[in-house]
Symmetry: D2
Subunit: 337 residues, 4 copies
Amino acid sequence: MIIIMKMGAPREEIDAVMRKVEDEGYKTHPIFGVERTVIGVIGDDREKRPGPFERMPGVERVERVLRPFKLASREFHPHDTVIQLNGHAIGGEQVIVMAGPCAVESRDQMTEVAHAVKEAGATVLRGGAFKPRTSPYSFQGLGEYGLKLLKEAGQAASLPVVTEVLSTRDMPLVREYADILQIGTRNMQNFALLTAAGQTGRPVLLKRGMSNTIEELLMAAEYILAEGNGRIMLCERGIRTFEKYTRFTLDLNAVPLLKQLSHLPVVVDPSQATGKWDLVAPMSKAAVASGADGLIIEVHPNPSDALSDANQQIKPDTFAQLMQDLRVLAPAVGRTI
Amino acid sequence: MIIIMKMGAPREEIDAVMRKVEDEGYKTHPIFGVERTVIGVIGDDREKRPGPFERMPGVERVERVLRPFKLASREFHPHDTVIQLNGHAIGGEQVIVMAGPCAVESRDQMTEVAHAVKEAGATVLRGGAFKPRTSPYSFQGLGEYGLKLLKEAGQAASLPVVTEVLSTRDMPLVREYADILQIGTRNMQNFALLTAAGQTGRPVLLKRGMSNTIEELLMAAEYILAEGNGRIMLCERGIRTFEKYTRFTLDLNAVPLLKQLSHLPVVVDPSQATGKWDLVAPMSKAAVASGADGLIIEVHPNPSDALSDANQQIKPDTFAQLMQDLRVLAPAVGRTI
Amino acid sequence: MIIIMKMGAPREEIDAVMRKVEDEGYKTHPIFGVERTVIGVIGDDREKRPGPFERMPGVERVERVLRPFKLASREFHPHDTVIQLNGHAIGGEQVIVMAGPCAVESRDQMTEVAHAVKEAGATVLRGGAFKPRTSPYSFQGLGEYGLKLLKEAGQAASLPVVTEVLSTRDMPLVREYADILQIGTRNMQNFALLTAAGQTGRPVLLKRGMSNTIEELLMAAEYILAEGNGRIMLCERGIRTFEKYTRFTLDLNAVPLLKQLSHLPVVVDPSQATGKWDLVAPMSKAAVASGADGLIIEVHPNPSDALSDANQQIKPDTFAQLMQDLRVLAPAVGRTI
Amino acid sequence: MIIIMKMGAPREEIDAVMRKVEDEGYKTHPIFGVERTVIGVIGDDREKRPGPFERMPGVERVERVLRPFKLASREFHPHDTVIQLNGHAIGGEQVIVMAGPCAVESRDQMTEVAHAVKEAGATVLRGGAFKPRTSPYSFQGLGEYGLKLLKEAGQAASLPVVTEVLSTRDMPLVREYADILQIGTRNMQNFALLTAAGQTGRPVLLKRGMSNTIEELLMAAEYILAEGNGRIMLCERGIRTFEKYTRFTLDLNAVPLLKQLSHLPVVVDPSQATGKWDLVAPMSKAAVASGADGLIIEVHPNPSDALSDANQQIKPDTFAQLMQDLRVLAPAVGRTI
């Protein structure tokens, strides 16, 4: 931590800050500059908010030196985390594709989709049974029955399943069915849920909050890691900006950045991000080209009749075509699919 | 709902869309314009996402006509909601001030603060026992013991208390102590929690998500209202923007807008919004001048030693001075304090 | 400047960075921490971008210590700048109100408005003759004829005038007519225009770019100050965020922040910011309560027929009522109007 | 245009709105819905702001039906615009790569870079002679001498050149040297400059404003097109968001969207967008995979000594490696390079 004093802060104020820093168990290292004094604070300050010092007389502001995440960082864990699942390695050479409908709606829908995406080359089946909806009047998902249909379809097609868990209350139920637990964008800072997901030991697909920074995403992963669960996929799914033509702004810059800062695999969700089915294919390709370890794509047998997010789901044949295109693209960036 | 067809969309496509609209139980009303056809959809479409139609051939986009919220809207409930609490009316002529520390830390701290804010004119005591923290290494709150200290201090000073509930799991516990349940910014779209809060019948202080629109805030209120609980205060607490000098950007425009769109009282949190103690006073005054029905302000006996958000809490004497200033200001906008 | 080295950066890399810093004429001051080394750079680094050092092997990132603005800062100019204009002091006790139509449209319109706002208590007349419009098909302003009408109306009502200058090409013309030169939000980083405005010596109303930070606004002022022109009013006029119910988000937090960081007067434009005429009054009051030194408000005799921004202009009688309300409010925050 | 009336708006108000619409030369088409009346307005309303009607009694809001751009739209110009330049076709099968330093600094620098990027496969040489800088204390470019050096280096390497023009004042000078005129992000809504660029007939690289929507970018192109100049490249270069780890957020979603909405070629600038040299390669690949027609990349022989933007420029050998990677990637998405 670096404490920047105000211009002309008198010696007593500088001394008072240094005393307080030392009282808290850190070493100080003042630098007397031309215009102002800067106090270097030596020690691991990850648990310390810069606030307390900012309030002291003569202090202008405080800058942190250390990134606040540790277990999620590549510095402390240089090698890539690879998650083994059903014979596939997530975070290795292969780009993993998770596909399926936004929401589980019926047995027929799930059976049809599961076989279609399996045949096209998907490695995980997705489907929501508990749906977070902006409006209380919208379809909220089939709940446990949805989980059963999802699991059944996954087993029939030999695909592990990923599904969202919305609250700690549902965790025991969802973990019975889910091979991968999804923490959605609205829950990225639901810390009780993160802790509960950490305790299951189950692989977690952790979606970036729609208005959360990359640093906050890594801090959310830190909550899960702190429970001893390192099987985490970080998922970029679009952030909120002023642009209105897309539902969110898919921030692909996050992909290479997360790969630099962290050892965890990175997955991209072009369906949720863009909210437009005809942007899913180009953004999937862009995601793979940017270095993503996986994709999660919404596929529905008949999107126009979907009970949620109709506009962003693609049809099985569009998905099959995309997978074919990705099989051509992936080797051009040193990956398989 | 208005369905805007693409330029040159052929008659068959227009007919297909109209048939589908009618199949869903709405009436259609086409307008054949110069460049394109527009189809008016007649009926209450609040439960219908525009998606399905956007996917049909020839459709360019869909615009909703109705605001998606109903119970929270002034159209359906023209008169101001006034919440009675402990002899005070929230949403009436008086501007209500809730004050207290960010986090409950100790009995001494709470006793000191409770009496100080009471004496200065606060009408509700605030204090967090369950704290949502970006880092798992930060102080997470005292939990139930914190609730007890809060309640005890509130009773000693004859102040009702407001405190945050972080998850459905904690709801039964928190509702035992809280006179007002606070739903925090990170949980504004935690729909299970909203529903649970609705079921308690307890007054709810619903904070705007840091990246949620005003419409989404009203939809979150709609979840609580749908459970039969109309005792909701909407709280503007800063949104996330590109500006870095403040922690968030306090969006005071939301105050008069929410008062137009909804009948619910509106409270402003200048402490969380700005993250800077020396902006709390000017933004509190601005909030009252903009028409806010209440304020929630962080007050700590010794901010430099605070276990969380040290930089945004004000001291009891600064708070007393602010209350005095507000007592001068409020009548100038037709309010009391 | 503080250079933060990577964890485990070897001694040679640290030495190389220090050599380069010293080669550039600064003194170095290394701090060897627990996890990493930090190098303090002593000297005025305002002209130095942190870039060059960030590229060196072993460097993780660079943090600046000094704010990049100097002439605009309160540190180097502690006393408030007060701009004398036509017997009024901008930046003093009185809150200055500039009012008039978005665009100059006709002699009748200007005469009517000028007298109305004068009578209601405005101290400056506004009106655009060169209009920046998103669409080339929209009304672009009356140009020089508009300037003439504006000036004529201002003289008839004994009001100085403020009007926007869009390009260096128009500067000689506009400065002939304008008592205050307005630099609009789209031109805040039109550096040639800033320099030209600086050279006129004329008072400048500098509007914050709709996506510019407070720091960038002060840097834009620095361009004008660097030409020897210190008669600058900083104007908050709304920033671009994800919120869609308002045209922009008026960031009133900027008012007290700018007053802390700078000695320049601060003006607020609630008309442009909100884009809604019925938010102008509450946000004007909030602006004054937050500490603004002035307001600029769009007033049109018949907004429904306005050639631009019809939705945000208020009528003369609404303006008169607002002025009356502000005359009650201002003393409550220690100001006059 | 669709005018949505308030719930319960009386017949007189509806009639008044309809009369006004008809007075302005449009046809009306009312739809009497369950909760409210909607008035369809028939006619080309591109030149009409929705404002005037929004002010009328009983009107809730106004929604536009037509996109406001016309000449830039694919609807009115279905076939791709292909710009011929120096034997290359921009907007055709080949992905065009423009490369060179952020700023022209010296003859040696330009000669070295020009040959290096030519050899690696670039088709246009970039270099700034007039630099828009946030701080007046930063290097502002070499001006005309810089233009000469750029042109000279381009000719020696047989590369056409692209360079930024900052103001109408400089236009005659810059057009003498530039094969492509660049309008920078801070000038996207400098309408005088857009018009002047349109009048030159020269190809224009139009960068998206850092806080401008895709629609506003197309409206800016419309200004140039309205002058009869259709040789425009739209350039995505990052938008301003809350994320702080990157300088801007490169919005690749804009690429397929712009290709859908418009016939103009789309270029991506990963250097300016990310502000980090080590993100340039992954984001360049992602841009090509998303469908970009071109890239503009900052290459400097010795970035650590660069006079501007040192942190985002790549070295010639990194650029050569990237070009090699892109030559492998491009065919996988049906392009050459």
